[in-house]
Symmetry: C2
Subunit: 542 residues, 2 copies
């Protein structure tokens, strides 16, 4: 992973002409605002951890598992949100973990947690470092130091139960590593979020990730059948059957816990036979309302495609204007309509049957095929973060946020978030009127997610600029009654809105679990639950 | 509900000849062992609750919502497990709640919980009273009394969101009541467990119920999109979208909590259009292994029928020997094979397509159609509890238990439970060798459930006899690594095995949640968590 941007530095690309035009003609990003390139080197905040404690912790994982150099600290310092990337481009020193520990067994994780609890050292579980919500920022606060617990060495395919279609895997496996291991045996997990190339299985589970093929394969949390979890006070072994009535499903207490309750050291996932074929079609709806109606029919009555997403008019116009996409008649004033990507993976015959029936539904909702758009989406499906880097370097502010709600609120939610983002950015001084793109990225029988991309000129303090826009969007989501995040997670960025969403009592219940599993409060302090009052009690809790 | 048996007393039926033969020729149940009929009236343990407290509580719900007579107390005293039914037939006085309160609003529930917390009165949330695991027994213990909180008056269809296919319903609605309300609008919940006619929506949610049509409609917990929950310290409002990444899914902390964490006062459920047609087919596999292979293929690769169950050889022989089922060539020594019920509900065309493809899969696994068996199953699907009453009256011990595991352990689990039950009952003095029936009742891609029915002659103390057999089965389930319950719930009966299943740390985590939401420990004491050490702490919890 690039030290200050996304992914493989060799894959960084110049901005396509269409985006250069957008910057110049629409967002009014000019040379005045252009960021003067990356300063070198990034400055890190000084190490706080006592040297003797560092040696004690290093002894647990052995020489191969310890990294204290600045590059390792920097690599574990931040995720990949736009504020993260802006911070890496900015002048302020970056708060980095004091030490990176990479245990190679569950027992080593247990020992690290026990020792860090005794020494009051905060522990940030670290997978791919791709959080876009502040999920891995070291929050030294009241602690004697911060350790990043890199799970990369827990990377085995421990077991494959072909009869039950279950794979037991290490949490440190990145998406492609896990897929390669399983492909050798003829299987796939089928989890392909935009972060796929860098994010890890443990991270997918801890953040309730959802991939681009969720319509076909389901969410990642739905694929988790069993978990082994290391906590400072013991091990949890959860999951003995696909489903059970034995009390509340405790797997669900760990899924979404973002490293605050324990460290996932092993996952047993539902896998499927690797698909024989993959087909991605592009379709154009006259309006967003037509498109969402069609998506709803497919989600409720089936058949479900494997990939199903729908861009709004603005996103469609930008997408189809990009080079490499044929069928984009967007040079003139003709409305682009709304582009849907409809993908199918599976056995050849089954894909043929599903595709034919889906085509009938799409056509009944006035959609027309867009030649090449599906393949183009497939080729570029992991590329957007590279574009963001180039846009940030060019002086644009670009960030995404997402939410979900029931179908009956979807249009209201989209309008409210769009208005909130636009108003917030127009009210900057000087105004930075944005371009706002939206797409439906995940569908369910009862509702869907909305994914927004916002682009504007950077103000003098672009991090503060984005925080204001983000807060406005959060307030709009709360007002309409959507969830503050459908698949990015809460991290540190969404804590206030998250706490409003689950209510005071929900927060108190989670705090009681946290106190039980992590009595010293060392695990990823500040995610999910605000760190400052970690040990204060609300009524009823003691 | 019959005061001392199942369901509508008018529907009680004499034992069919085939079961009379089973009792006489196989189980050796003779007149010596015949229970002398129901004693009348049932004796209840005395009321303990202070009269002033009773009046105070009565004042909350008003005259229409208070019942203190013996019949009301008896109706809320026990569930419908075999030990419950044996207790109702036995000489010992029954522990009954002191008072039955039927609030008609969320606010009344809140006030009851608050007052009972202040007065240390235990509260047992009560739906249909159909628990078969000791889910509603009043556990007075250290409390000043026990109140049954009957939710029958929370029975409204509060809202129907047709676009999102969501119905918001009161927890006190019995299965048929909810279906009637929705049928008026063209929808169904599709949840049809054997207890359907009497159990309530709140009970389905609190116990993670699974119905006979789970292959098509899913489990009940999967249909719950939002919950309102009253606790002694406040209200939880959970669920803003079909799925979310906003922390752990707190809905899952209430689902399966069996009334120990709060009282569900409103549920928002995914509903579907009422099916235009329903077809239930019977198929016979040569062996149980053939049948489970076919079920696994359907669960993993589809298409899924709506109903899918497979009886083992013994259950098949008994089923096909019953009058009214044609195709049963079981008079002689010809092996009956294994009967599968394969049902389809939905639009006529879709049912036709699915049925045709499922037929191909079944035939490829050597199954042959059994004329009439599907319809016969459908007609009798809610009748088994009536048969149990007649068998108990005739001197047989009859009870069921169920478990689930991943596919690769299914045959091992079935053998282990069967052996454990048989050994336990043969080792009674005098021996009571059992007949053990088993069927697969619910299938998933990763595994399936097993449902056992055990019949033996009653010993002198049939409750203790069953507890010994049940404990042996629990030990076998734990040893193989199955879950102690797939859909009946934990109640009081399974607490020891449940605690082993989730481990000491899992228990401690649940206790911390319990202490937060129910600091006085009044809610259904003794379910899920053993009551005796409710307020003791394990390491790490404070």
């Amino acid at each position: 992973m690039s030290l200050r941007g996304w992914g493989d530095p060799a894959q960084a690309a110049p901005l396509p002409e269409s985006l250069q035009r957008l910057l110049r003609d629409v967002l009014d990003v000019d040379d005045r605002r252009r960021v003067p390139g990356l300063r070198s080197p990034v400055r890190l905040a000084p190490v706080r951890l006592d040297r003797r404690v560092a040696l004690e912790l290093a002894g647990i994982v052995g020489a191969d598992g310890v990294h204290g150099d600045d590059e390792a600290r920097l690599r574990h310092a931040v995720g990949r949100s736009t504020p993260d990337l802006l911070a890496l481009r900015g002048p302020k020193p970056i708060a980095a973990p004091d030490l990176v520990l990479a245990p190679d067994s569950h027992d080593q994780v247990m020992t690290v947690l026990e020792r860090c609890s005794a020494r009051r050292v905060a522990v940030v579980p670290f997978g791919g470092g791709t959080s876009v919500v502040g999920g891995v920022e070291p929050d030294a606060g009241a602690y004697s130091g911060v350790v990043a617990l890199d799970l990369a060495r827990l990377n085995a395919l421990e077991q494959l139960d072909e009869e039950s279609r279950l794979a037991t895997l290490g949490p440190g496996l990145r998406g492609p590593e896990a897929e390669w291991l399983l492909a050798d045996r003829g299987y796939t997990i089928g989890h392909f979020p935009q972060s796929f190339e860098y994010a890890t299985l443990g991270g997918f589970a801890a953040t309730r990730s959802s991939g681009q093929a969720s319509a076909g394969y389901g969410r990642f949390d739905e694929q988790v059948m069993a978990l082994r979890v290391a906590t400072p006070v013991g091990t949890l072994e959860l999951g003995r059957a696909p489903r059970s009535a034995a009390g509340p499903d405790l797997r669900q207490l760990i899924l979404g816990s973002e490293g605050a309750f324990g460290v996932i050291t092993s996952l047993t996932l539902a896998v499927r036979p690797a698909p024989a074929t993959r087909v991605y079609d592009g379709w154009r709806f006259p309006t967003f309302a037509d498109g969402t109606r069609a998506l709803r029919v497919l989600a409720q009555d089936g058949p479900r495609p494997t990939v199903l997403r729908l861009s709004d008019e603005v996103e469609t116009a930008l997408t189809l204007a990009r080079p490499g996409v044929s069928g984009g008649a967007n040079g003139g004033s003709a409305p682009a309509g709304c582009l849907a990507i409809v993908g199918f993976e599976g056995e050849v015959d089954a894909v043929g049957r599903r595709r034919s029936r889906v085509t009938d539904v799409l056509a009944a909702h006035h959609a027309e095929p867009v030649a090449g758009a599906g393949d183009s989406w497939s080729e570029g499906r992991y590329r957007a973060p590279y574009l963001r880097d180039a846009l940030l370097d060019a002086g644009a502010l670009v960030e995404t946020l997402e939410t979900a709600c029931f179908w009956s609120s979807l249009h209201e939610l989209r309008a409210a978030v769009t208005t909130a983002l636009r108003d917030a950015l127009i009210n900057e001084d000087p105004p930075t009127p944005p371009v706002i793109l939206c797409h439906v990225s995940h569908v369910y029988a009862a509702g869907a997610s909305l994914y927004f991309t916002v682009a504007a000129a950077q103000s003098a303090d672009p991090i503060a600029q984005w925080r204001r826009a983000q807060a406005a969007a959060g307030a709009a989501i709360a007002a309409v009654g959507g969830t503050i995040t459908h698949h990015h997670g809460v991290g540190r960025d969404h804590v206030p809105w998250y706490q409003r969403e689950i209510g005071e009592l929900g927060v108190t219940a989670l705090r009681s679990v946290k106190r039980t599993l992590d009595p010293a409060g060392i695990l990823n302090p500040g995610v999910l639950l605000s760190a400052e009052n970690l040990h204060t009690d609300l009524r009823g809790s003691r």
